[in-house]
Amino acid sequence: MIRKTSIAVVCCAVLSSVPLFAHHGGNLYDTTKAKVMKGTVTKFEWGTPHNQIYYDVKTDKGEVEHWVASTEPAGVMLERGWTRRSLKPGDEVTVYIFAAKNGATVGNLQKIVLADGKELTAGGPGPADAAQPPAGRQ
């Protein structure tokens, strides 16, 4: 059930250009690079204030790490094509997250790729960034 470890830290220009998420404590995550890992979904919570995706990752040492990735709330993810049935326990996935700076096994989801190649993105025209003021101002 647990896939072989494949944790890689990838400097990803595309992902790092995604606007900062409004997740609570969003400044606690390293948004300069996405951590990419393969794992198995153990639980998918669909709701507010944010969705949570629980997944297990097997390390090179054979240990199992329990990760939690957070997304925007359900209403926003509906706009991005997600539903509460998008993920289910047992799904083998490749996860791209901005991980906690302190090494905790939590992070903000950027995208997730299912075993059949289907890609679910968590980014989009999200929270305003100071560098991108609304059109018509400044």
């Binding site: 404590g25 925007e72 939590v106 999200g126 305003a128 609304p134």
Partner: protein, 288 residues
């Protein structure tokens, strides 16, 4: 100020598990140094007289955040909240600046979710004017002859902007105040609000307002899929002049209230426990 003090006291009672220094932070915010009721607003209040003649713009549909996103700050110059306290377009009074900088925002560049003083996170206080647009939730307008009803997916809550109406002379201070509305130029709905209490934040960063807040919203239909909202904060109790906020909305087809964003203290705490705590060890004001 009396109402802010009461709100702070209620907040303290509600989080009895919090450390003492967090109580002190929330219970003793700086207040405006005067009775704000005697102050005069900077801008004219209520509909112009005579009312402009305008066709009624069609605002039907569901509207979600568009270009620029939903943001952290109401400041038009700093929607991302990176210049908290130093925004070039917010003319703080000293107490309002002090109040803002003493808050622990739940989101944004200065987020301290584990210590947040946010009354919405802790006790699900209503988001209030301005801040209601900082959440990624849809809104819908119900336009009738006598009023425009603004329905918000978060809360869920709704407001009424009375058409062909004036504000009462002495409205009871309440979270959403008293709103009147009118149309302009065939493409714009103007909503003019007074009579709020002073318990809510104007945005995610803790910008305060007083009971003297006069809040103006101009919803301009730019095309069939876009509405631009220009907001003006006119509060002589907290700021030395009016200041602007901007948001854009785009039409959504995913269905209004398909997912109801009900504020739940339990959900807030659980999210923190599941995701926030491991990333933020140490002091917390959250219940265990």
């Amino acid at each position: 100020m009396r109402t802010r003090g009461l709100a702070a006291a209620a907040f303290v009672v509600s989080v009895t598990a919090a450390p003492a220094n967090v109580y002190a932070q929330a219970a003793d915010p700086p207040n405006p140094p005067m009775d704000v009721s005697a102050l005069k607003n900077f801008l004219p209040i209520g509909p112009p007289s005579p009312l402009p003649v305008s066709k009624v713009p069609d605002l039907s549909g569901d509207w979600t955040f568009g270009a620029g996103g939903f943001g952290q700050s109401l400041s038009a110059a700093d929607p991302g909240g990176r210049m908290r306290g130093k925004e070039p377009d917010i003319p703080y009074q000293p107490w309002a600046l002090q109040y803002t900088m003493k808050q622990f925002p739940p989101t944004g560049p200065d987020a301290a979710f584990e210590r947040t003083t946010d009354p919405n996170i802790h006790t699900c206080e209503p988001l209030g004017l301005g801040r209601i647009y900082m959440a990624p939730a849809k809104l819908r307008f119900i336009q009738t002859v006598e009023a425009v009803y603004i329905l918000h997916e978060i809360g869920p809550t709704w407001r009424v902007a009375w058409l062909n109406a004036k504000h009462p002379d002495d409205p009871d201070p309440q979270y959403w105040g008293h709103s009147v509305g009118w149309y302009e130029n065939g493409d714009t709905l103007v909503v003019d609000t007074i009579g709020t209490n002073d318990r809510s934040w104007l945005d995610q960063l803790g910008h305060p307002h007083t009971e003297k807040l006069h809040f103006i919203e101009r919803f301009k239909k730019q095309d069939d899929k876009t509405i631009r909202l220009d907001m003006t904060v006119d509060d002589p109790g907290a700021y030395t002049g009016p200041w602007p906020g901007v948001r854009n909305f785009t039409k959504s087809t995913t269905g209004f209230l398909r997912f109801q964003w009900v504020c739940s203290v339990r959900d807030n705490y659980e999210h923190y426990e599941k995701v926030g705590r491991t990333a933020t060890p140490g002091e917390t004001s959250f219940k265990k």
